[in-house]
Symmetry: D2
Subunit: 284 residues, 4 copies
């Protein structure tokens, strides 16, 4: 097995010497950089970077890396995030009735594609409880009505805290999270069943059919309080024809939803995504 690595995601106002400063921090402490990728957005005046280096031979103990780097980051006005390749983030998957994205994520998890634990499934319906049982994952049925929503979101938030969840994945969870919820908990990835910004909102496949498009798609994005407007992580598309009715669009679209959501979750878990404004940098 590869030895563990440290990963830094950094963004700060652009200025001379940033690459050198970051690289020197690692080199001076005996680290071997495996990947270093940066991006400058000249319009935003931003420098964004991802650095990954081997912990073996690195002189700083894990719990000191953060504070030590902060001494460099602060004068640069940088925000940053440190993770380790052997971290095992805890995921919660939220669903409603449809199982394809849930099953796909669970299989991939089983197949080792995700370095994560999945201790908690939440649903506004009980339909998919048997899948949770089969995989030995706690399932919480939390029905949502207009009236109960505010209260139920408190229950959801309590569960996220109780289970120590680092990322919520909305895998065809057909409910909108309130701005209040997102103020408390914001690490949420959603899969939208259209090629955003086309067909925002409800029933995208029906509307794609009505519009007579020749290609449909799916979009994985971070959730913000603006519905279907959050930073896009990944998109993909599939060709359709006049022979495909709405049912066929849904069937073909499912494959895109599965693949696009899985890619987005994996990119996030590998600390390859950096959000700024309403955009993402995806370090390939």
């Amino acid at each position: 097995m590869a030895s563990p690595t440290a990963i830094l995601l950094v963004s700060c106002p652009d200025q001379k010497g940033l690459v050198a400063k970051l690289a020197n921090f690692i080199y001076a402490n005996g680290g071997n950089i495996l990947h270093a990728d940066q991006h400058c957005d000249p319009e935003a005046g931003l420098f964004l970077s991802r650095l990954e280096w081997e912990l073996e031979g690195f002189n700083l103990p894990r719990d000191i890396i953060g504070p030590a780097f902060n001494a460099i980051a602060q004068p640069l006005g940088a925000t940053w995030q440190l993770s380790f390749s052997d971290d095992v983030p805890r995921l919660s998957i939220w669903v409603s009735h449809q199982d394809h994205c849930l099953l796909d994520l669970l299989w991939r998890h089983q197949a080792g594609e995700f370095k994560a634990e999945i201790p908690l499934i939440i649903s506004n319906h009980s339909t998919l409880k048997p899948i949770a049982d089969q995989f030995g994952i706690d399932f919480h049925h939390i029905p949502i009505t207009k009236d109960s929503k505010a209260e139920q979101e408190q229950t959801q938030l309590a569960l996220l805290q109780q289970y120590g969840i680092h990322l919520v994945v909305l895998a065809k969870y057909m409910q909108v999270l309130s701005p209040n919820f997102l103020k408390t908990y914001s690490q949420v990835i959603n899969i939208h069943h259209s090629f955003l910004p086309a067909f925002m909102g409800a029933n995208p496949y029906q509307r794609a059919y009505q519009r007579g498009v020749k290609i449909i798609g799916a979009t994985a994005h971070y959730v913000t309080s603006d519905l279907d407007e959050g930073p896009i992580i990944e998109q993909d598309v599939v060709r359709i024809s006049h022979r495909d009715d709405v049912k066929e669009l849904i069937r073909k679209g499912k494959d895109m939803e599965r693949i696009v959501l899985a890619r987005a979750v994996r990119l996030h878990l590998q600390s390859r995504t950096l959000v700024y404004g309403n955009r993402t940098v995806v370090f390939g």
Copy 2:
């Protein structure tokens, strides 16, 4: 060379025996069907078909085929359109400042990809006159202002009639055709530089950049009086990343615009497109 063929596009309310009736019409007159494709839209209750058969050995002279077929079509309530593979439709290409779609169409025409004549280029600017000159095509500079538009559209319509134009191709013509114009002349294909219905209207690349999408596209559609809402003929997409600024989106998008517009024009010229409602059937 292949011998000439006749092509029928038919749409009518669905009922039993339609395929047999159409095929019998051709067989009874000694024709050999090369391609026969049908589509039923159960929701719309419509039958749509494209038939292509060899004229060699067909007993009806060309000018009798239409009237003869009409005797079959009328009781079925069918609308239909007859063309011949050796027809040479006359195209007019309309442009503004950008040359890539125009050049691409002219090259493909030169390379024999389109069975058509291109006797007329119209532009609201004089920028691309040299290209028209180089290819020996008449170029009419018809500037458009808000005030002059109604009048200038009359000039345009007169030219279409004078040149006997069967299809207008808006190859990055950055003007909207008025409902009045379209009432008089409706055979118009446009290329829109986005993956419709995403980014309808102006500046799609800037807006795609702002939205942070990971894929951009282009859409060729028939023009209707609802801007960017006409029946879609063809779409295609290309992947982008955070490294692509607006200028790069425009550059990458150009390739899609060229390819998608050319495919749509070719499909139309081969009588492979059938419009119903706001949709197209594209017979492959």
Copy 3:
């Protein structure tokens, strides 16, 4: 639910009147054609067609359709195949160690994407028995060595007969079927983990990496005695970069394998594939 339909796949030497004859057969017996698609291969002098019509209102009972059609087919020198949309073909899935294609097929089956029964899984290893158990499918572990192969293939053939299997799907079954086996049983679809004919044979991902290709793919094909040379049903590809090592190619390739194999199985089950020579016509 849609009412049941009959589907005819026909191929015969091309001649005038074939579409009419086929359509008339259906119309004369009161059938309503839902889909009719034909293809002529002028080089091979072949006419190939797929016809689907509603059984409701059709005058011939099911068991008479075949004999009745044969009276038409024989003088045309046609080979044909009749099926019904409510047929439930019986599939056997064959695997070795890898589970992704198996799981994907079983999930799609559960989701109603395949009209079929899957009563039998065969493997040369016992690794995937728990999945068979979980889905309640009989699992037969039939180890293969060079010496035992001939004998074990007899066991396999006996099982296919015993279970009444209509289609064998090699879902990452890492053994070659002998010409003898294929002489007895030839309805076999395989998924090859490369974009055939690139990287035929073993270890395609390793070889793709060595060659430094920028795109990898997967190919579903009917199995013939020429390894990796059978008629291709479906292919798809995914882009890779220099950052992808062999392990990543395998991971990305799995998604293609799953999707391409599932599409091919579905096309076959819907009687949309017609083999001639070493090619397929896929009626969309």
Copy 4:
């Protein structure tokens, strides 16, 4: 306009501190890094990097950058290549009868997609001379026979030297360059009309048709003395169906050839390609 930049491509045995050393060289001399990308190939034990920084404010004059960097590179055992964004490399395009790739390159050049001069077209036929004339480019007709090849290659090499050519683009030049030629001049990009390594050698479209593939492609690669085996820069594909005969494959393939070759030439001109072994790193 953006101010000019310097670009370094570096490859060397991997070791600690390489990113820091490279970044410090630029920072210490007052440079502002715009892009820095690295790749490690652990199997090959190689570190590969592309660095781009602004010349404005950089303390070293252009002609000193190379020697100064060499002092750093040599102890690392690095090979490197320095270029400037305002360099204008000189291209020679080689063709035979087909014009689509040539025209596409010339149009893109005209449209400003390539920072380059194109003073020289060489062909073994005179067919495309009119295009050269139209664009005001010198055209040399150098016919090749088996017997004359060795001698004619000397003529070609003399022309490359005379015109100061930095890159030869084989834009459907249907001749193989001899190992002797390539020993003298090795900066050559070729477009192959298949998805390599499928259909290496002659007549790929005919063979793709014979094989019945469902997707065709094109490959741009550096030329080596092993025919169609050189390092791949870019590939792309397009879907086909049973309806496409060889002529259609050729037509559809042309679009891929144009796009793939243009992308490869642009990547090379922007110093985004780094060859090692038989592979390329393409810095996106």
